[in-house]
């Protein structure tokens, strides 16, 4: 009853000062909206990195020649010729944590079909490649182990290649194409995967038996990569260690010598990219939080002025029987109402901004429920925290002095 009355009084004061209230709220609105939007951007990019990498096969392990090339001033891994087919065979034989493994050789070139041509990349692999990359075929079939052994000139192509060299919409399966003047018979088309987070078109690819690519196109005797997949996601890091050990032995590296190869799991890749985007998220949220804090200070400021301005009113309220606690509650409720209303408007503005970012700027976003709950809770706390002091001041006024205040 008493609280209801105080609530009425507080709402009345807010309604009587619409413009001022709205301006006060603005700080909170912008603060909350930016926290939500920033978190949505952060979450969105993290999620999209994760999905892309997972779609590339979350158990996937890649073995590249050369030392870890993440740092500067190192030769590109592709130039180093330390991986051989024999390495592949040893790993395949000795590791018990891998479910699939394939050698990989790759190179670029021109795909030609009649008068249509298209620059693309060719990957020479074994049939297990599809299992490792978790990709299926939309038509036709994959080449077989036998075709690998016989270095058959068959290929499976991605949708982008299909679109560019078969623009008339004819079925590519069974057709002949040429890659760097070597004829291939198209026997299958890969499922569409689209672009990954790094902007790479995963459908712009030609896959052929590795023997064919190694000998006929690249004319090399080493491997560019070995790809494998761990038996499970949890085993991926153990598998990485195991493979490293096998390779060190195989390459006869001494204890004080660095690895001349790099083994990496997808999980590692995810965490590398996630940590970057996490940093970004923290930074964005920190900036947004500062604006929320400033919004709170805005409330405190206005409540202070309001207490000063309404000193006489406070005196009157006390004279007609308002207790100190009534006055305290009135101003506190006012502050909380301002901040919570601002919070609600802020949530909507934040969602609106997120929608805009997603649909017009095409950034991946993801609104997490927790971000709404947190920023809303912060709002309410802001109201109480910053409203308390001015309210306390109002309630401690001496009614006689307050009544005489001009």
């Amino acid at each position: 009853m008493r609280l209801l009355n105080l609530f009425k009084i507080a709402t009345k004061a807010i309604v009587l000062n619409k413009t001022r209230t709205l301006l006060t709220m603005l700080g909170i609105i912008i603060g909350v909206a930016s926290v939500i939007a920033m978190l949505a951007i952060g979450e969105g990019s993290k999620e999209s990195i994760r999905t892309t990498i997972s779609s590339m096969g979350s158990n996937m392990i890649t073995i590249r020649p050369g030392a870890d090339d993440r740092g500067p001033a190192r030769g590109s891994g592709g130039d180093v010729q330390t991986l051989t087919l024999k390495n592949y065979e040893t790993i395949k034989e000795q590791s018990n944590l891998l479910s699939y493994i394939t050698p990989v050789v790759n190179g670029g070139g021109q795909v030609i079909n009649g008068s249509n041509n298209w620059p693309s990349s060719i990957y020479g692999v074994k049939p297990e490649y599809l299992d490792i990359k978790v990709v299926g075929l939309q038509s036709g079939s994959m080449f077989t182990e036998a075709e690998v052994n016989s270095a058959a000139k068959v290929a499976v192509i991605g949708q982008t290649v299909v679109d560019n060299v078969f623009p008339d919409g004819q079925d590519p399966v069974g057709q002949m194409i040429r890659f760097n003047n070597i004829p291939f018979k198209v026997i299958g088309v890969l499922e569409e995967k689209g672009e990954n987070t790094f902007g790479q078109d995963q459908d712009d690819v030609v896959i052929a038996p590795f023997t064919t690519v190694q000998k006929r196109i690249l004319a090399i005797d080493y491997l560019n990569q070995i790809m494998a997949s761990a038996v499970s996601e949890d085993d991926a890091s153990t598998a990485v260690e195991q493979v490293s050990k096998i390779l060190r032995e195989e390459h006869k590296l001494l204890d004080n010598e660095e690895d001349d190869f790099t083994v990496r799991s997808m999980e590692e890749l995810i965490s590398t990219f996630s940590s970057t985007s996490e940093m970004l998220t923290i930074l964005l949220v920190a900036v947004a939080s500062i604006s929320l804090l400033i919004g709170g200070i805005g409330i405190m400021n206005i409540m202070y002025v309001s207490v000063k301005e309404r000193t006489k009113e406070i005196g009157l309220r006390m004279a007609v029987g308002g207790k100190g606690s009534d006055i305290l509650m009135q101003f506190l409720i006012e502050a909380i109402l301002i901040s919570i209303t601002g919070g609600i408007l802020g949530v909507f503005l934040g969602l609106g901004a997120t929608f805009f970012i997603e649909n017009f700027l095409n950034w991946p976003t993801s609104v997490a429920l927790y971000s709404i709950i947190i920023s809303f809770a912060v709002c309410a706390i802001t109201g109480i925290f910053f409203g308390w002091y001015p309210a306390r001041k109002a309630s401690a006024l001496d009614p006689i002095t307050a009544l005489r205040y001009e």
């Binding site: 009853m1 006489k312 009157l316 006390m318 004279a319 007609v320 207790k323 100190g324 006689i400 009544l403």
Partner: protein, 247 residues
């Protein structure tokens, strides 16, 4: 014997200002009975304002007895004082002290908002009745800026009546009004007094005292005179005798 509304005995109030002690009230005693219309007069510095603050339970005496409606005020805390003000006293101020941009009825309801025993229906009902009593039954939803000074003071009077106080305490209630309007207001006070409402009117204007039935004159913190007025003037008659306004 009529009921004692106010009982004051040897009441003292002193203030410490730095190293000096100011004796604002130096041992005052009087009793106000139910139905009296008392004016408390005095020039500035007489202790009039201090008396008013204590009578209104806004301040407490340093020593002595102050009872309102049988309750001793001296030892009450802030909250208890607020409750006494809410339930037993109706305040009227010189500058009306109405809430701006707030309708007459909402202004009148104000004291009842702080009394959780009164439901919102009863609150509205009592506020309407109080406004009708002061002749503003037609202006319930006017805000102070839409009312004249006299009407604003009537709203304030209605506000002081709404909680059925044992005493109305007016502080220079006609101080901001012209002669005609102040007679109108005094006539309203007399009407209310005729209905049995106890009124204490603090003023420095001697002619106001002629409308009351008792006058207490303060000087330098002491009672100089306390007399009953046997020939109470009628404010309504005085009003009728005023020269007609030229408009």
């Amino acid at each position: 014997m009529r009921k004692e509304i106010i009982k004051i005995e040897n009441l003292k109030r002193q203030f410490t200002m730095g190293s000096e002690t100011v004796h604002a009230l130096k041992g005052i005693s009087f009793t106000i009975h139910e139905g009296e219309f008392v004016t408390i007069m005095g020039s500035s510095g007489s202790g009039k304002s201090t008396m008013l603050n204590i009578l209104g339970c806004l301040d407490q005496p340093t020593s002595g007895i102050y009872q309102i409606d049988g309750v001793s005020v001296k030892d009450l805390n802030r909250n208890q004082l607020a409750t006494i003000r809410n339930e037993k006293i109706g305040f009227i101020f010189q500058s009306y002290n109405l809430l701006a941009r707030t309708s007459a009825i909402e202004n009148v309801e104000l004291p009842l908002l702080y009394n959780s025993k009164v439901s919102s229906e009863e609150r509205r009902e009592r506020a309407v009745k109080a406004l009708e009593m002061v002749g503003l039954g037609e202006r319930l939803h006017h805000t102070p800026s839409q009312l004249s000074g006299g009407q604003q003071q009537r709203v304030a009077i209605a506000r002081s009546l709404v909680n059925n106080p044992v005493m109305i305490l007016a502080d220079e209630a006609t101080g901001n009004l012209d002669t005609r309007t102040s007679y109108e207001i005094m006539s309203l006070f007399q009407e209310l007094n005729d209905k049995g409402i106890t009124i204490t009117f603090v003023t420095h204007e001697p002619d106001i005292a002629t409308f009351s039935n008792r006058t207490i004159v303060l000087k330098d913190g002491e009672i100089m005179q306390d007399y009953t007025n046997y020939k109470v003037e009628s404010a309504a008659e005085q009003l009728a005798n005023l020269p007609k306004e030229n408009n």
